[in-house]
Symmetry: C2
Subunit: 380 residues, 2 copies
């Protein structure tokens, strides 16, 4: 028995990311590769610098394709859920940065079919409501509306059906059993679904780069096994770690695990404050005196980790927080307050963007340059 489990539907235990790289057969993003990226984009991203994006497949080839002018495209996705939480934003925000820096097309698959197939308690209307809400959250992040295509699987299925069949024809039952742990009691829709998650990686005859959490990698293993046989590139990927839940730095933030483990994008200021104060696991000491004397431990402190991943991109500022917390100068309550302020500011701006996103949603789904092209296209 492994002491942790990582599949697209379950993350549990204390994940050992080095083991995972070996287990999945991916590569670590090392210092050299980070430098290549920085050189290519003339800039940095804290999620890379801080190893939150830590693993990849063929990212070096993506950079080469960029250099030679061949180009590449981005693809990511979302299984629509009732409420999106801040953890869901991590790969999306990194994707946004990549799109901006490289000026490439981006495809965002909303897998309403997957959610419906894997969650028998959902009815279709509920899934659609969640999908529409999630699309608005995503659009609010500010992707390039002329170069981004957001599509629901159920809406775009006609345009991809022949390619979907072609992909499915290459994948056997035993493959999805061994890759995803399916068995004979798995419904035939779930068995089929992986083909649809592979398809967008074939949207252009260029290399595809998929920013995602590492649990999605099993799909890309299948993609890489069949892509060349179908006349496409093996996809590249950059993998991030799991965004820690409020209760501690192991596991993965999940809305379905109960709202007290996550900050939802819809949480108001008071809720955020209460949740952080009440639930955020602290690396601080039992008393102020002890904390002043011994200092806190940022490595296991959820507020510190969240600042590091999302809310404090400035390296010097983060370093100061680290030092002050370690030394005992910064108290746990003060650190929490810092996070609460950043979080509430972020959520306030996000909500404003969401409220104004209508036009961009329309563009990214139907009327923008890329979206329009996509609706006119059929993939065979």
């Amino acid at each position: 028995m492994a002491d942790f489990t990582v599949t697209p539907w379950e993350v549990s235990g204390a994940v050992d990311y080095s083991k995972l790289i070996k287990q999945f057969g991916t590569s670590r993003i090392d210092a050299q590769l980070k430098e290549c990226i920085s050189r290519a984009v003339k800039g940095h991203h804290h999620m890379l610098n801080r190893d939150f994006f830590f693993s990849h497949r063929d990212l070096d080839l993506i950079l080469k394709d960029h250099e030679t002018g061949k180009g590449f495209f981005l693809y990511t996705g979302r299984g629509p859920s009732k409420g999106m939480h801040i953890g869901h934003l991590v790969p999306l925000l990194f994707t946004k940065w990549l799109q901006k820096k490289f000026g490439v097309n981006l495809y965002i698959e909303i897998t309403d079919d997957e959610k419906f197939l894997f969650r028998r308690e959902y009815d279709w209307k509920e899934v659609q409501k969640n999908a529409d809400d999630n699309i608005a959250e995503i659009a609010a992040l500010g992707f390039d509306p002329e170069r981004t295509f957001i599509f629901k699987d159920s809406e775009y299925v006609k345009n991809v059906y022949p390619l979907l069949l072609k992909t499915a024809r290459k994948i056997t039952g035993s493959t999805v059993k061994s890759v995803f742990g399916f068995d004979d009691s798995t419904n035939i829709g779930m068995n089929f679904y992986p083909a649809y998650q592979v398809v967008p990686s074939f949207f252009e005859k260029k290399r595809c780069l998929i920013p995602c959490a590492i649990d999605q990698d099993p799909y890309w293993r299948i993609q890489r096994d069949i892509a060349e046989g179908l006349g496409y590139y093996k996809t590249a990927a950059v993998h991030c770690k799991f965004f820690p839940p409020l209760q501690g730095i192991s596991g993965k933030m999940s809305s379905s695990a109960g709202s007290e483990t996550a900050i939802l994008l819809t949480d108001d200021e008071k809720t955020v404050k209460n949740k952080i104060n009440k639930y955020a696991f602290s690396g601080g000491r039992a008393s102020v005196e002890e904390h002043r004397k011994l200092g806190g431990d940022p490595a296991i402190d959820v507020p510190y980790q969240w600042l590091s991943i999302l809310f404090e991109p400035d390296d010097d500022a983060l370093k100061k927080i680290h030092e002050d917390y370690r030394s005992g100068k910064l108290l746990s309550g003060e650190l929490k307050l810092m996070l609460i302020e950043r979080l509430n500011l972020f959520l306030k701006e996000h909500r404003e963007c969401k409220a104004k996103a209508g036009k961009d949603i329309q563009k990214m789904m139907y009327s923008g340059k890329l979206a329009k092209e996509m609706w006119e296209r059929t993939y065979e």
Copy 2:
């Protein structure tokens, strides 16, 4: 080991239809049921009278629904192939008769996805070409263009996708394994496909009647297991025997088995004449003298059987042929000539209808009353 095999993809051996009724758990169409049908439609059909349609599920309930004014609808389909042969027309012609007599809606599913998934040697363009050709052949038969909806799975998929997923969610891998003999080497598209063949039986909230060859029944067994759980009726079906190939009365006519076993709808007069004279298995005697003396055997004579199934609907006329052949008065060559003439007349008229079918195709696929309604509808 059974001495014959019947699956949707293979028919071999000398099929024992009584055994098949037991094996599949269907019911025989008995004299009483035939009478009920005749009473309901004020007419007869020779395919019923002569037990070519021999088995059913819930046909009695269909008649009851008709009587009480609840009504029902018809559904049949076609896996598009390179050339349609006369055997393919049998269920379609019977369906046409049912539609006319009962005045009901008819859905014809063109399973381009199935063909593509099950036949790796096909490319998509080829399947589409075959599908369009087959649709023209079907439309030429003269269904009611306002009450018939012919659709390709690939074209209509968006409209049914939620219902397709709902159906797939109810079917496990072990079900399709046991019903169709799939295994872990089966591709995930084939595994999924049965859900799509079930879906049209849910197109109306009425009972569905499916005229088809008996080899398609496994799909309806699955349908009947899940229909009520999804809020629909268990489908009814009427099953026909297999149209015998030229070489003998066992097995099933197949275009892929080689063109000398089948009469294609595109065969010209000379080809028909040559094929019948050269290949049609005869129940006649070795010499004219012997034939005059001992008589032929209509039961194993392919030309006689074809007349019985398709080309001589008049009972008295068929009886006379039977008697004359049995007595030796009618020679094998004369019987063949009779068939050749009927066949060529039929094919000539069919080709004329096909040439003029353009407007009806348009109506049945897109612009007729039923088709228009169907394109405006999404099934959830």
